[in-house]
Amino acid sequence: MALTVRTKRKIRKVVDKVALAATVAVLLAPCLFVFFWMLSLSLKYDIDNTAWPPVFWPEEVTFDNFAKVFEESPMFLYFWNSVQVTGSATLVALLLGVPAGYGIAKARAHKMAAVLLLSRMTPGLSYLIPLFTLFQVLGLIGTVWPIALTHMVITLPIVVWIMIGFFETQPHELEEAARIDGATLWQAFRYVALPLSRPGIVVGAILAFISSWNNFIFGAVFAGRTTRTMPVAVYNMLTFESFAWGPLAAAAIVVMLPVIVLTIIIQKEIVQGLSAGGVK
């Protein structure tokens, strides 16, 4: 009798395990397939890419598609534009957003946070018409600065959002001790809270960087021929330059490679940071 109960339990355990593995596989399959297909398209010759039935594993791997992307468009220039735009938008967002997140968390001023939510709610397109006019008056159209400035609409709320969540979970005894010892509010922030918040800052910075890097619409409106960011450049390849499927897929990979690498580096912190910010 005891034996049958034990074997029953064992069978149950195995069934559970198989069911779990199957569910994980079903969830991951579509996610992975798109990436696999992108890679496959980028490594095949055009004959294979337009074959029916589709060729899944290239018989002959080629890097011609990647070479073509770099030959026929100034990819390094676009890359540099993206770095400038995203880098400065992220940096300024950190300078303004980390203290703001601290202040809002400590004062429990959630109405202030609502203002930031408002900027997330406003459709990005609605900034464009007035800002376009403004930048034209200022003579900034044709430089990367209008793009960088508008990208702060994306980066600042993310940084504040993440930092509120982070500072709320940080114990405040240390700062209180510093205050009792005669530190000013600013000193308590600068020398006690800030050094402890490095992990939160890293997550906020990287998430802001990724969203800004991926943004298309601001660049699409403000960028001229030489100030295109990476996503805009790729979009133009699709519509205006008649690239074949192989080079297009290769360009898609080139654009998203930096964010994929960043995601892999801090995947654990991303999950923690995003979920901490979501709650209180």
């Binding site: 779990l20 969830l27 991951l28 996610c31 992975l32 798109v34 990436f35 297909w37 398209l41 029916w52 589709p54 303004l96 957003g97 203290p99 703001a100 601290y102 202040g103 809002i104 004062a107 001023a109 203002v115 939510l117 900027s119 997330r120 709610m121 406003t122 459709p123 397109l125 609605s126 464009l128 018409i129 800002l131 006019t133 403004l134 702060m152 609409v153 600042l156 504040v160 990724i210 619409i217 409106v221 990476m230 996503p231 790729v234 979009y235 699709l238 897929a249 360009a251 898609a252 964010v259 994929i260 960043l262 995601t263 995947q267 991303i270 999950v271 995003l274 979920s275 901490a276 709650v279």
Partner: protein, 302 residues
């Protein structure tokens, strides 16, 4: 502690203000910058929406005419319909799938961290680049999706090339991109669950199902509402995927508000009309968010 609570209760406002004042200096810079970036465009947009302005010609003040015209503009009204249709599906499906995924990835199994990283890749990938790949996959003659359908014995679809299937096809892309986002938020909720209620429930002989509905669900509900609010806002604002994949077509079959807006402003240069669309659009978003925030408050107290 009890004394402090009483004073706060007696004068919530003054206590809140006293707490806030020393920290205002931390908040001001960010607040000033974001209001400058938000408020200037807003004043400008509202003013423009009261004018007839076609870029290149002179503007004339026409009062509410732009709004009146919009109310009878079929293309505009249809784009609202498309937006609602798109939003309902693009919220519900990722919410359901994201919650299921969160429950799965909350279990402990070997390689969980690795698989979870793979799973969140789509939301980090550049939407424009991803849309490009989907466009190729949707191709009715050479696309890999029709081949996959044929493998399981289903007839080929026109995907984004037919008015009837274009929005559901675009929803597939949206599900692919944003299910991980819902998953991460809900996963955070699951991670914050205390273990005591479960232990108590186990001792009392509760079933798995009972534990889910009586303990897990109520505790995770606030997280679900956060995910719901974010997802709704983002779905209403959808632009890039549609712009790249179907460009609002075929015809205007997938023209959502944001795409209509872009066309008015930057293809037809109708700045006045476009500004009026922005105002209406923002009104819709704010109204919906308020409803959802209200639901969140209710969920907190329930």
């Amino acid at each position: 502690m009890a004394g402090a609570d009483v004073t706060i209760a007696a004068g919530t406002r003054t206590a809140g203000e006293r707490r806030l004042r020393p920290y205002l200096l931390f908040i001001w810079p960010a607040l000033i910058v974001s209001s400058a970036v938000i408020i200037f465009p807003w004043i400008f947009t509202v003013w423009m929406s009261l004018n007839d302005w076609h870029i290149g010609s002179k503007q004339t003040f026409i009062g509410l005419d732009n709004y009146v015209n919009l109310m009878t503009n079929r293309r505009f009204l249809e784009s609202i319909g498309h937006t609602i249709y798109f939003t309902i599906l693009a919220v519900i499906l990722p919410m359901v799938l994201g919650t299921v995924s969160a429950l799965v990835f909350h279990k402990k199994f070997r390689g969980r961290g690795f698989f979870r990283t793979l799973f969140i890749m789509p939301m980090m990938a550049t939407p424009v680049a991803v849309s490009l790949i989907w466009t190729m996959m949707f191709h009715p003659q050479l696309g890999v999706l029709n081949y996959l359908l044929s493998l399981v014995g289903l007839p080929p679809s026109q995907w984004v090339y037919a008015p009837g299937t274009v929005i559901p096809s675009l929803i597939l892309v949206e599900i692919w991109l944003w299910t991980p986002f819902v998953m991460i938020i809900v996963l955070g909720g699951l991670a914050s669950l205390p273990t005591e209620p479960y232990e108590a429930a186990l001792i009392d002989g509760a079933s798995q199902w009972q534990m889910f509905w009586k303990i897990t669900y109520p505790l995770v509900a606030p997280f679900l509402v956060v995910a719901l609010i974010m997802r709704t806002i983002d779905a209403l604002k959808v632009f890039e995927t549609i712009w790249v994949i179907s460009n609002g077509g075929p015809g205007t079959a997938s023209e959502v508000l944001n795409v209509y807006l872009y066309a008015q402003a930057f293809a037809y240069n109708q700045v006045g009309t476009a500004s009026a669309v922005v105002v209406v659009f923002f009104g819709i978003i704010v109204a919906l968010s308020l409803v959802l925030l209200w639901a969140r408050q209710k969920a907190k107290w329930a």
